[in-house]
Symmetry: C2
Subunit: 340 residues, 2 copies
DNA sequence: TTGTAAGCGTTATCAG
DNA sequence: CTGATAACGCTTACAA
């Protein structure tokens, strides 16, 4: 049935250890036998048995992509699901299989991290979750499996101990606001998500504030509006805070979807964007090109982030450059379209 | 380091085979020793080594969720990514890990199905892909691993050979159209995706046609409009086919996102929905509740589909009721909101 | 350059 | 009811 290295050995007329060495490109096998064996393996459709391989100390070829249960709710998930797609793409190109799972069991609360660790099912962790317990980070460290933290900094672990790749949300907020100011805005509202579970919005707001103050514009608490991260909340902003909108010449939406709803409502009310009011979004979701006018936004370098994270985890698995941590904060960029 | 059944055996003062039996709930072990051993295992944070387990004939605890590369493009992906979330939820509750991957390697074109099969990495396949080669289905069958086909029927395999769960796209098209007719529409346009890669739209259109003809309404080819599956294409329908829209009293959009764009444009033009024109969508994406007016649509039972598929694959893995195939076509349902 | 043999952690068979 | 022991497929000293 399943072809093993012994089968290949029989066909090639060598021992199974020679086959193992040949297929693993051991330097101590002559090119000739290597080629012969590889040829046979190919024609026999051979693949190493994953279980046996991991048992005898090799790698499993699996990487766990650990995410937060709340990402599954629609809304916050747009950016994240795009990020996962990128991650899978890069892992696939590196011949790694991705096990995608929530960090904690939805019913029992048991840690999937420690389960995978103990089951020895994987070679490393990509963590897209800011709320992993200190205990879990410690278990991972004890196991000596590599971890790369993505997207958000961990709450219960010192960042210094980890390899990570984040994007600079402060800078994103700064860039968006600076752009509005450059375009002549003097009174700028910012709308953010009231998702209390994550502090990226705080950082963006801090960047917003800094840009204002650098340009000598007074920062006002009341111009910070937290609402649900939905199209409709953006749409109905005219109803919820009419007096604020009337007295403002620029709005920085911290999610594209909110901006989308707002732009639609503005058009219906005959408010000209960008002439009467300028609007910037955040994320550069595909939907940005669908808005009318097209939305100026902050691009999060999700592909680059995925690529760096995948390259790094593979390096760590192969024990390359693993003496010190690599920690990088990627810069978001401003994408100017029609709404400013 | 890693705790094994031998470690537990040492602590318990029994042989490692007793431990194995106890933890696997073998009936031939006394309740007393069983409890003792399970206790020790728990306090030692024991988990079976996955590799060793699968080597010696047991299951891997992994299920492959195989999808089509084109699903990663935004647009078609909304429904699919929701379906994946549901699948992961159910698998997780059954203590199975999901390996999510494209059917064919994006660069080499090599089959991931046969790779996983030969590597013996998984216990079964959930296939969300209508274009798997006959060869791959044959390999799976030869391996005796269970498969469940979801969402779409396979093109290169007789459906009779498979367990599957689909939804009835014909019925969906029928229900949408019948509803419009009941609401008084006599001239009904249908807008579908021009994604040539999949025949769900043909089926929906056939259902549309049948509903028309049953009610004695003439079917007209020119009322079938294939466009890209995007918000903007829906929005600009007024520009692309103005004369058709002017002469129609109902539109059946075969994707919600197109309907969404259209509703926005209609509102801007002062066309009253549903008074002047009635609109039905398809999918029941979360976005339906965000449209103004809220969109009447066809709900695809994605949760039920995921649940049935996961239950079935687990049964098959455990060799329960596996003498014959289970094949079920789920009924979509009409969700009436404000647009009709 | 290649072969032999031990070992990885588990399950299963066979005795007792 | 429990314990030895072989076997699963692979890697890796150690020998030749």
């Amino acid at each position: 049935m399943k072809v093993t290295i012994k089968d290949i050995a029989a066909v090639a007329g060598v021992s199974h250890s020679t086959v193992s060495r040949a297929l693993n490109d051991s330097p101590q096998i002559s090119k000739q036998t290597k080629d012969k064996i590889k040829d046979i393996a190919r024609t026999m459709d051979f693949e190493f048995n994953a279980g046996a391989r991991s048992l005898s100390g090799r790698k499993t070829g699996n990487i766990a992509v650990v995410y937060k249960a709340s990402y599954d709710q629609f809304g916050s998930s747009l950016y994240i699901s795009q990020l996962f797609i990128e991650l899978r793409h890069f892992l696939e190109r590196m011949d790694m299989d991705a096990i995608l799972l929530e960090a904690y069991h939805p019913e029992t609360g048991a840690s999937n991290i420690s389960r995978l660790l103990n089951q020895q099912k994987i070679d490393g962790f990509l963590i897209v979750h800011d709320n992993i317990t200190r205990k879990d980070y410690d278990s991972i460290k004890r196991s000596c499996l590599p971890v790369v933290q993505l997207h958000l900094p961990p709450m219960y672990c010192h960042k210094e101990e980890l390899d990570y790749f984040f994007t600079d949300h402060f800078l994103g907020g700064y860039l968006a606001t600076e752009h509005l100011i450059k375009k002549g805005c003097r009174r700028i509202l910012t709308v953010l998500s009231n998702d209390s579970d994550s502090d990226e919005y705080e950082l963006r707001t801090a960047g917003y504030r800094q840009a204002l103050e650098e340009q000598g514009i007074r920062f006002e608490e009341k111009l910070i509006i937290p609402v649900d991260c939905t199209y409709l909340k953006g749409y109905y902003l005219f109803n919820t805070i009419p007096e604020l909108i009337a007295n403002v010449d620029g709005i920085f939406f911290q999610t594209d979807i909110q901006a989308f709803g707002f732009l639609t409502a503005a058009r219906e009310r005959g408010i000209r964007i960008p002439e009467d009011l300028k609007v910037v979004g955040y994320d550069d979701a595909p939907i940005c090109e669908s808005t009318i006018p097209q939305l100026t936004t902050i691009h999060q370098p999700r592909r680059k982030l995925a690529e760096l994270a995948c390259d790094r985890i593979i390096d760590l698995i192969n024990k390359r450059n693993n003496e010190s941590r690599i920690q990088e904060i990627l810069f978001p960029t401003l994408v100017i379209r029609e709404s400013t």
